[in-house]
Amino acid sequence: MSNSLEPEKSAPLSSGLAKSVNDVSYREVDQPGPGSLAKQSKGFWVTFQAMFKKNQTVQYPDVKAPTEERFHGRHQLNRHPDGLEKCIGCELCAWACPADAIYVEGGDNTPENQVSPGERHGAVYQINYLRCIFCGLCVEACPTRALTMTNEYELADESREKLIFEKEDLLAPLRAGMIMPPHPMYPEMDENNYYRGEVTSAHPSQATSADKANQSAKKSGEVK
């Protein structure tokens, strides 16, 4: 066996400068001898030991183990406590993204269509999960804490289109006390009050105006 590793002697090249692969000398490597049963049983011992250890395998997808608490999963667009969206469409997440996975278009908040506090909301928000590398720089860039990451990791699908998540796929669900936007801001409050956390739940007057605005969009409006 060791003979076969002997470097082959090739005819010296005329130039003497150019080297062929065969000119490189090999170093002999220690090979385990055929008869070392002790060494083999050492390897089998590792396997044998494992039979008495706790089983790490999870029968996914029948069993789904929880991730670590701060696992980087699918993104979520959060809401203020009255239901208004936190996203202001500033595109800082898109700017921070090293994979160019985020596409944002801003929109104007009008009295009839107040989606977030202040002047501006995210009208189009897309994250392409074929590109996203889950680095979380977008979350760090977000000035309103609108974008955070959930622990959801099941992000596989059969087409490219389905892996481009739209705003409605990413928006957080409505919780208790929230009203589906668009609706006006909390009475007597401006966007700064929202950012300081002084709005804690929706005001009844917001519901009535939201109802009017949502009349048509009610069906499709519910977050998945």
Partner: protein, 789 residues
């Protein structure tokens, strides 16, 4: 103020050497420290300083240490207001800790009241305040009080939004409005911490140049309604482009996001538009996507309906209709030079005719003669206005018809008191701003008034395209220019007209200004094109082509970018085309589409490359801004059509066409002789009659302004203008309704009593509620009846 501006007038400039940060630099006397430092590559932070505006020292950001003759100023000085002097030693923030500290201090104070709006602000990402706060500011602020607040954005016009919280009071916008545009509609109100930019109570910021204030605002205080929250600078792909809206020839930048044009900005070309443009050029770009574009070829079937067809089918149908027919070409004023050259070559080779005219408007033979004899390949330019001692405006309303020419005139009026004279029917806002001598004449009588104007060889005569509507005016202008040696420039309204003229899209001219009647010129072109001979008889003009189509002397016509409603007797023109075989090359359905037999869709300006010649004859080349468009330039389609007819014109691409044009060069032989035309006496109105005068304003109902409602909001009010004397005799005051009518129809508009010739009434052309060309079929100089409605 700067070296750039004073250079043309001063022949010998005194040079001064100063030391900045230990480096010597020699600059002309009068140069500001901040610009001398720029010459060394030393960037001093600044907000209020702008090379084209007068120094004001408002923001105090550019503080530097200055020492003259060994004596230092006790405190840092604003480098944007102090001109260099001999033996001056300047230490900027790079070498002086005092200047550095002063700049950081100023920045801290500027940011003290500046809201934390960056994420919602349109300027974010391209904001001088953001950038300079990073480079010359402290990361932490020591000011922790409540910031001063104002009501968030207020519309100071339908297209400009003002956020006063963000303003750093640099006064760039107010200085621009006052010094450059002469539209002092915005000013700094209040004092102290409450100082703010504002408009007059009942006067919105309705300036034709308001967009420039947005572009020069160093913070996000002024933003545009149409670009509000659309994109960030890193989303945009910028392409240098040229403006397609008028013959001024502005350098532009087109910003595209994902195949959609989001904004256009004025480019920086010191010889043409400096750094400015007009609002139409800036904002009227949505027509490309807003109007109902033609997407595929259409062919009229046996039932008389236009149906979609494939390109080969449509080209075959067009070729079959044109082959052997007596055909002509009408090409509109929006064609690029390359497209116009394509039409010109197509007419001569594929159709064997000289019947081609680019003038889709009211024309005269006098004008055609003048263009061939004087304008083609001529080169009067903007710097001639800078050098002129007197500018004479004939049938030309600069602010409405060529806004950058207005800005150049205005600059010379402000800087060196240029004398401007206008022979017109009506006083106008622009004439008021230019302090122009207004020679009031009745519509049609312009020509007679020209001879009396005293000019010198340094003067310029600016002749508008409406000169064709007043018989004898062009001849009088030519005679005056010949007599005095003054420079004579023709300023059309549309961007493509001058290029089409030089490309030979005229019955009497071949490309490069070669006269059709000159056999040497024909041989020249025939050799270059590789054909045996070219048609020899001079071609028909637009009106003659339409008359010949109506009379059956022509069978077919190729029409590109023409709206028949821009012409006199448009109803007859549409009827004439209806009975002929019409091939239409258009971006969107128009009045020609209704009568066309084959419709071929072409690329709009942002989708193609090409060039325009502005009124100076200066090439304004541009590239396609939307790369992925499937639409093609007219010249490529004409080339394919010529191939289908079996008479190839070999113009497969725009760049090949441009190469061929430059190889042809200009004609250096004899020009077409000019035959003067005698002026005719203006109509004499009696009783309720008045002579109509009418022209287009900058912002009207033009097809290329569709889809941009914010821009439309700053249109000037549609009014009928009459003189005081007529108003008194009709018992009308400003605001009362007037009915202007003739046998064809009537238009009712609010009256405006202004300085206008007593015999005349003025209405805007193609404006909202006022279409004298189609509704009255009345052109300049005709009689209409004016009564109180």
């Amino acid at each position: 103020m700067t070296t750039q501006e004073s250079a043309p007038q001063i022949t010998e400039v005194e040079m001064i050497t100063v030391v900045i940060d230990g480096f010597e630099v020699t600059v002309p006397k009068g140069t500001l420290i901040i610009r001398a430092a720029e010459k060394l590559g030393i960037q001093i932070p600044r907000f209020c300083d702008h090379p084209l505006l007068s120094p004001v020292g408002a923001c105090r950001q550019c503080l530097v240490d200055v020492e003259i003759n060994g004596r230092a100023f006790p405190k840092p000085q604003a480098s944007c207001t102090i001109p260099v002097e001999p033996n001056m030693i300047v230490k900027t923030q790079l070498t002086s800790p005092v200047a550095e500290k002063a700049q950081r201090g100023v920045m801290e104070l500027l940011l003290g009241n500046h809201p934390l709006d960056c994420p919602v602000c349109d300027k974010g990402g391209e904001c001088p305040l953001q950038n300079q706060a990073m480079s010359n500011g402290n990361a932490e602020s020591r000011l922790d009080g409540t910031k001063r607040t104002f009501e968030k954005p207020i519309n100071i016009s339908s297209q400009v939004l003002l956020d006063r919280e963000r303003c750093v009071l640099c006064a760039r916008c107010t200085r621009f409005s006052e010094e450059i545009a002469s539209d002092p509609f915005i000013t700094l109100n209040h004092r102290g911490a409450l100082q703010q930019v504002g408009i007059y109570e009942n006067d919105p910021f309705n300036s034709y140049f308001s967009g420039n204030t947005i572009q020069i605002c160093p913070v996000g205080a002024l933003t545009g309604a149409s670009y509000r929250f659309r994109a960030r600078p890193f989303d945009l792909v910028s392409t240098p482009s040229a403006c397609e809206h008028c013959a001024s020839g502005c350098d532009m930048r087109t910003d595209v996001r994902r195949g959609k044009t989001l904004r256009r900005l004025a480019g920086d070309d010191a010889a043409v538009n400096e750094e400015w443009n007009c609002d139409k050029g800036r904002w009227a770009f949505k027509y490309v996507t807003a109007i109902d574009r033609l997407t595929q070829p259409l062919v009229r079937n046996a039932d008389g309906e236009l149906v979609a067809a494939s390109w080969p089918e449509a080209l075959a149908a067009a070729a079959a209709g044109l082959k052997g027919a007596r055909a002509a070409v009408l090409v509109g004023g929006r064609a690029t030079v390359e497209d116009a050259y394509g039409y010109s070559k197509f007419a001569r080779i594929a159709l064997s005719t000289n019947d081609i005219d680019f003038r889709a408007r009211i024309t005269s033979d006098e004008e055609g003669n003048f263009l061939a004899s004087h304008v083609a390949t001529s080169a009067v330019n903007y710097s001639d206005i800078d050098k002129a001692d007197h500018a004479l405006l004939l049938a030309f309303e600069p602010e409405e018809e060529s806004p950058i020419v207005f800005l150049r005139l205005n600059k010379n009026v402000k800087k060196r008191n240029l004398k401007v004279t206008s022979i017109a029917t009506k006083q106008s806002i622009a004439m008021d701003k230019l302090n122009a001598e207004f020679i009031r004449v009745a519509p049609g009588a312009e020509g007679a008034a020209v001879a009396a104007i005293a000019l010198t060889a340094k003067s310029v005569i600016l002749l508008g395209e409406r000169a064709s509507e007043s018989a004898g005016l062009i001849s009088a202008a030519v005679a005056l220019a010949d007599k005095t040696g003054a420079k004579l420039a023709w300023i059309p309204r549309r961007a493509g007209e001058r290029g089409a003229l030089d490309a030979g899209a005229l019955g009497t001219l071949l490309p490069g200004g070669r006269p059709v009647a000159d056999s040497a010129a024909r041989v020249d072109i025939a050799a270059a094109w590789g054909v045996d001979s070219l048609p020899t008889n001079s071609g028909r003009s637009t009106s003659q082509i339409i008359a010949s189509l109506a009379a059956g002397e022509l069978d077919a016509v190729v029409v590109g970018g023409v709206d028949l409603r821009d012409m006199y007797n448009s109803v007859d023109a549409i009827a004439a085309l209806k009975k002929s075989f019409v091939v239409s090359l258009e971006i969107a359905p128009s009045s020609v589409t209704e009568v066309a037999d084959v419709v071929l869709p072409v690329a709009a300006i942002t989708e193609k490359s090409g060039s325009f010649l502005n009124w100076e004859g200066r090439p304004r080349a541009f590239d396609s801004a939307v790369a992925e468009s499937l639409n093609r330039s007219d010249v490529r389609i004409l080339s394919a059509l010529a191939d289908a007819m079996g008479t190839s014109i070999m113009l497969g691409t725009v760049s090949a066409t441009a190469r061929e044009i430059s190889q042809l060069g200009k004609w250096d032989g004899a020009r077409v002789p000019f035959t003067p035309v005698a002026p005719v006496n203006p109509a004499s109105p009696s009783g309720d009659q008045a002579i109509i005068a009418s022209w287009r304003r900058l912002l009207d109902m033009g097809t290329l302004q569709r889809g941009e409602d914010n821009l439309a909001g700053t249109r000037r009010q549609t009014v009928a203008v009459i003189s005081e004397k007529r108003a008194a005799s009709l018992g009308v005051v400003t605001g009362d309704l007037l009915r202007v009518s003739n046998a064809t129809g009537a238009i009712t508009l609010p009256a405006l009593v202004e300085d206008i010739h007593d015999d005349a009434v003025w209405l805007p052309r193609n404006s909202f509620g006022s279409q004298p060309l189609t509704d009255l079929n009345a052109v300049h100089g005709q009689l209409v009846t004016v009564v109180k409605a």
